[in-house]
Subunit: 357 residues, 2 copies
């Protein structure tokens, strides 16, 4: 039974301004390594091992991003079997439905590995080992999610609580939990039964379609119509905008996972995962001093992330700061304040500064 | 008896990088107000009052700066009677000698008011009142300096200690003191007899020439030769490089003031004076929030100076920082670290980054 990897590539990444921009959002940027997050995600597929029978991946991206997708896939040496182009975003439930419909057209019991384009995974072998351990549950009709082992009381992630073991390294899901406050996160960590919900899913196409029929039929109907009326061109397959417009916009976690009966979590997964969701997350991933002497000179600075692909940055006596400079903008923030970057972007929108977005 | 204002305009201002650059150093920049420091200095002459009989000023600048000088003087509505152009810098003793020679050519007892181009004076009326109170001593053959009333235990300035009163608001100089450490600065402040040595001098031309003959004859001889062989062109009067080259390079404080017998200090002067010597000094002068919405957006920042004429700056959660951005460079420093800016400039020189200097 083969696995169809489906890469969700439609995000805006505004929390990573000023590097992430409307014309080139987060997933197309080399934020952690030398290749972009999408290229790294595509390259990761090459490490799966033949026993997993991975098919060529499907990409679902936003309108206007198809050129960036093709370039990144080519740089990763990965040929997608299809690029789906959304005329506008309808959140991840719609993406999951399109993924299930695409896989179902191959064979109803095709497995889908649905994953975001913009995460970082330091240990791909552990990741694929985890996927392998989830296969029996997925084949058996579970909607399977990945539960990443927490390495701290993180308040920026949703959590999944494991229940009874249903196979080696796989448990029934007891509960999904929203982002917790600090005390709750500490309690989760202490209990050992809570894991970071990575938003990576493994399921049989017919299982997911049945779940949509039960819990979110309007989303499935709109996606089925939009796929049916899609128009193929050189860039990819374009969902029909008129058919797609009425699709409700919901996260797959809310529309399906929280409501489905048979759901499982692979846990603990120890794969060095990060959602690369903020400059704080990137600062945590990138440890160590300044290496880019062409752009940065730092004196007596500690615990700082300082990067520029634009102006030269001279830093003196800084502590716990993040400095990100591009050709036209510089973000300077205290570490721990990364959630405020959205406020910066919203303020720029209000001021009509499209040149900076 | 008329007063010849002589403006020392040859500085490099490297402590104010990245705004101050080789092609346009500190004195030509609007660092405190909307006009440049030189233009503000020239405009200040207009507030002197007719009783002081100020002549049109003389400017002494570096080679290549004559265009900037002319433009700033024009913007201030002040016509210089001469622009002296040094082929290379020989410190302030040489400038004082040239000033004395220039004034002596008008009449040996002409008074000279020698002042830097790059200081800020918030209260020009108090400044001119102080100059007026120093006139009798200067006419009587004293080398007169201005002692600014300290408003804190400043370690960044030299001090002058007053001795016996020799006239209203004018004292003999007891001692000149180098920049003190913090404890010494606090003791100076407590004593009430120590004042900031502003590097502004009032003297009769013949008094200063006699002092040079007694204490620094080599400087006087080189300057006399360089002035004698000067070449006038459209930009100004160019000191002869060959004659000027052997001139010893010394501050006038060291070469003359510390050694002269009859010296006086006008003190206390309460004129809101600053040497605008560092970003810390400018941050202290400029209080209050961000007003340049085109270039800066600051969230939850306190006690920061954030300015840009280049990239857009977004700042989050910063405290006690100075951020200065130009088209090609950004300085980010903790307040109190301004002396390290010189290290930045020296490092850029070592790295061959002339583009940034």
């Amino acid at each position: 039974m083969s696995i169809l990897p489906v890469i969700m590539c439609g995000g805006a990444g505004s929390r990573l301004w000023p590097r992430s921009r409307a014309a080139r959002p987060k997933q197309f940027l080399p934020l952690v390594e030398e290749s972009s997050l999408l290229a790294a995600t595509a390259a990761r597929l090459g490490h799966a091992g033949a026993h997993l029978e991975l098919l060529a991946p499907v990409i679902i991206c936003g309108d206007g991003q198809e050129g960036l997708v093709s370039a990144d896939m080519a740089s990763a040496g990965a040929a997608p079997q299809r690029i789906w182009i959304e005329p506008f975003g309808r959140n991840t439930a719609a993406v999951a439905a399109i993924a299930a419909l695409e896989a179902s057209a191959l064979a109803p019991d095709t497995l889908v590995l649905l994953m975001p384009a913009d995460h970082h995974i330091a240990g791909p072998d552990a990741f694929w080992q985890a996927i392998g351990s989830g296969l029996p549950a997925a084949k058996d009709g579970y909607l399977v999610t990945l539960g990443m082992e927490p390495d701290g009381p993180e308040t920026g992630y949703g959590y999944v609580q494991r229940g009874a073991e249903i196979g080696p390294g796989v448990h029934a899901v007891a509960n999904f939990k929203e982002k917790p406050d600090a005390a709750t996160a500490a309690a989760y960590l202490a209990s050992g039964d809570y894991f970071w919900n990575a938003g990576i899913f493994l399921f049989r196409a017919d299982t997911m379609i049945a779940a949509f029929e039960a819990h979110a039929p309007a989303i499935l109907a709109a996606c089925r119509a939009a796929v049916g009326a899609a128009r193929q061109d050189a860039g990819g397959a374009r969902l029909d905008p008129e058919a797609f417009a009425p699709c409700p916009s919901e996260p797959v976690d809310v529309a399906i996972m929280e409501k489905a009966d048979r759901k499982a979590v692979i846990a603990p997964v120890r794969a060095g995962w990060s959602d690369v969701g903020s400059w704080d997350a990137i600062a945590a991933l990138k440890d160590g001093g300044v290496t880019d002497e062409d752009h940065v000179l730092a004196l007596d600075c500690s615990n700082c992330l300082i990067e520029s692909d634009g102006p030269f940055i001279a830093a003196i006596g800084l502590k716990d700061l993040v400095v990100i400079a591009t050709g036209d903008s510089v973000l300077i923030m205290q570490r721990g304040e990364a959630q405020q970057v959205k406020t910066i972007v919203e303020t720029l929108k209000k001021r009509g500064r499209r040149d900076l977005l």
